[in-house]
């Protein structure tokens, strides 16, 4: 059996599973800790990048993970991509494949089920390869040896990302195309192995404002036409409403609020989410006259995070004796809406 046949067989198996309504992705009490070494040998603690995160993602659903730098969203993303191993807990794909138990071969197969769209479109493309070569690479690695088939797939995917006429773009190198076009190539590359899940890490933050919406709409379109699960990582709250159904807010390695996107603006519950909302401005001349309510301080170190609720040192609604001692569980605050905050006990 060729590598390609093996891939096909795996994919038919997973088709059957999808009928069982298992979530596409199930993150279960995931912890990803990185060991800190002192002078190369001594143990100096752990960077608790992801610390007890759980959620489910259905096929065809788009979820936004919002947080600032250092909140652990990158490590979460890399674990979902199969680039990091969970320290504890698990990532379960299609109800049966556990990342922590995957052997090398299955892990390789799994990585092809997840497409990765990166933040920096120029850095994400090897500068010495032209578009055709860039798009062929994942297929060559996956064992698709038929040249004709590869070209067909390239044509299909470039048409989907609206880079036509395709022949014009194939011989171009990354520095010859614009930022928006580069990002389309990145998306094309992520789609070329027909993944089930797409992880997009700040896919438009390095693009110009006038192009952003176009790319986000493209991603939305691809999600709908291919019934993909999408995890969309961003720090820009103003875009999440248009491109995802649910939003998870991450702070210091934990998810502090899970909310349907429509509830975000008016039903947000966690104080940190409120802070993010207050800090996100819409273009309005009156902004110049008002000061924003921003919690003081900075996100905590992930090596020694604060005890109890990690946001408590900055929280205006802190309940002394509770928030600084006990870690709040996720409380139900509305339909499909949870917040990890003692205010909602």
């Amino acid at each position: 059996m060729t590598a390609q046949d093996a891939v096909v067989q795996q994919e038919t198996l997973s088709g059957a599973d999808a009928l069982n309504n298992a979530p596409l992705l199930s993150i279960q009490n995931l912890r990803v800790w990185f060991e800190l070494r002192r002078f190369g040998f001594g143990h100096a603690g752990y960077v608790k990048a992801v610390d007890d995160v759980s959620f489910d993602l259905q096929q065809g659903e788009a979820v936004a993970v919002v947080g600032e730098s250092g909140c652990g969203k990158s490590s979460l993303m890399k674990t979902i991509l199969g680039l990091n191993r969970p320290t504890q807990g698990d990532v379960v794909f299609q109800g049966k494949y556990r990342i922590s138990q995957m052997d090398a071969k299955t892990l390789r197969w799994y990585r092809r089920q997840v497409g990765y769209v990166q933040q920096d479109p120029y850095g994400a493309l090897p500068p010495f390869m032209n578009v055709q070569r860039i798009l062929e690479e994942p297929m060559i690695v996956a064992g698709i040896s038929d040249r004709k088939e590869r070209l067909e797939r390239i044509h299909k995917v470039l048409t989907e990302v609206k880079m036509t006429p395709v022949e014009e773009f194939l011989p171009k190198f990354p520095h010859m195309i614009s930022g928006g076009q580069q990002q389309r190539v990145v998306i094309a590359r992520a789609m070329i192995l027909e993944p089930k899940l797409l992880v997009a890490d700040e896919p438009v933050s390095m693009l110009d404002a006038s192009v952003r919406v176009e790319i986000l709409k493209l991603l939305r379109g691809l999600q709908e036409s291919h019934n993909l699960g999408v995890i969309y990582i961003t720090h820009d709250l103003s875009t999440v409403r248009y491109f995802s159904e649910r939003i998870f807010v991450m702070y210091a390695g934990q998810i502090v609020e899970k909310s349907p996107v429509d509830d975000l603006l008016h039903e947000a519950k966690h104080p940190y989410t409120h802070a993010l909302l207050a800090a996100t401005s819409d273009p309005d001349a009156r902004n110049a006259e008002t000061f924003k309510e921003v919690p003081p301080g900075e996100p905590p170190s992930l090596v020694k995070p604060p005890t109890g609720c990690r946001f408590h040192p900055r929280c205006p609604h802190i309940i002394r004796g509770e928030c600084d001692v006990n870690v709040p569980p996720e409380f139900e605050v509305g339909p499909d809406h949870t917040a990890a905050c003692w205010l909602y006990k």
């Binding site: 600032e68 192009v211 103003s238 248009y242 996100t280 819409d282 273009p283 110049a288 900075e298």
Partner: protein, 324 residues
Amino acid sequence: MPEKTLLRVEDLKLYFRATRGVVQAVDGVNFTLNPNEAMVIIGESGCGKSSMAKALLRLLPRNVDTYSGKVYLNSTELMSMSDEEYRQQIRWLKISMVPQAAMNALNPVLRVGDQVAEPMMVHHGVRKEEALVQAANMFQRVGVPVDFLTRYPFELSGGMRQRAAIAMALVTAPDLVILDEPTSALDVLTQANIMNLLKRIKKEIATSFILITHDIATSSELADRVGVMYAGQMVELSDAYRFFTAPLHPYSQKLMASVPKLRSTVEPEFITGQPPSLIKPPSGCRFAARCPLRFEKCDQDPPMFQHPDGRQVKCWLYEKEARS
């Protein structure tokens, strides 16, 4: 009584020599700025706004092809000064800058306090101890703990570094501070903090600001006036209120429409196509190729029309109103 203008820029041009040709990065820009006023210059990548910051501060690379125009600071004409005069009298004394990503502003091998003190030592001939005291004062003003004076840049977080860079720009009490994308590398909360800081400083000190950014939402936090740049030219100059309510130039309108808004339900749009190359810009209106309101006259490059309400637009659609 008309206010005395702080800065008047006339036909500023900055062209670079590149391997493929001459890049007309700043192509005849005109605007004025009053004392204690904040102007925001909005544009996307490649519109020439960063080059304009460099042109105003005369931080030119070696491959300059053309550098011309007139820049009046109070009544001194800056372009006719020699480089040495400019360095001694203007740069960091009257005009200073907070560059993009404070990592560029701060020398990684020097202590932060020393760096903030340095402009005082160089320009005001102040001794080191005295300069450090002023640096400490500035740190307090921008919200950096004073004991950070002895730290190195890598020991500071992104937000702190940006505050230190702002302190460095303000320490000599210049008339004008140019900020080039001061918050684009920062998180949302830190961004909000920095903008709060800039608002506060603007109230406390009588300094003018030019804020250059592509982030339209952030720009509204500080703007008294707005200038929009496209393909090396200024296409609209307006006061902030009117601009954010109803911009005039088709590009400005499309740009505003493309910003996703948290508190509005209108779905954002996008602009198809790309800005023209700055090497051989088109001879007519540079936005015509992407403009939905284009008509025949747009084959000619429009001048900057004076709108009756004081705004300026570089678009043939406003020709009639300007003449009336």
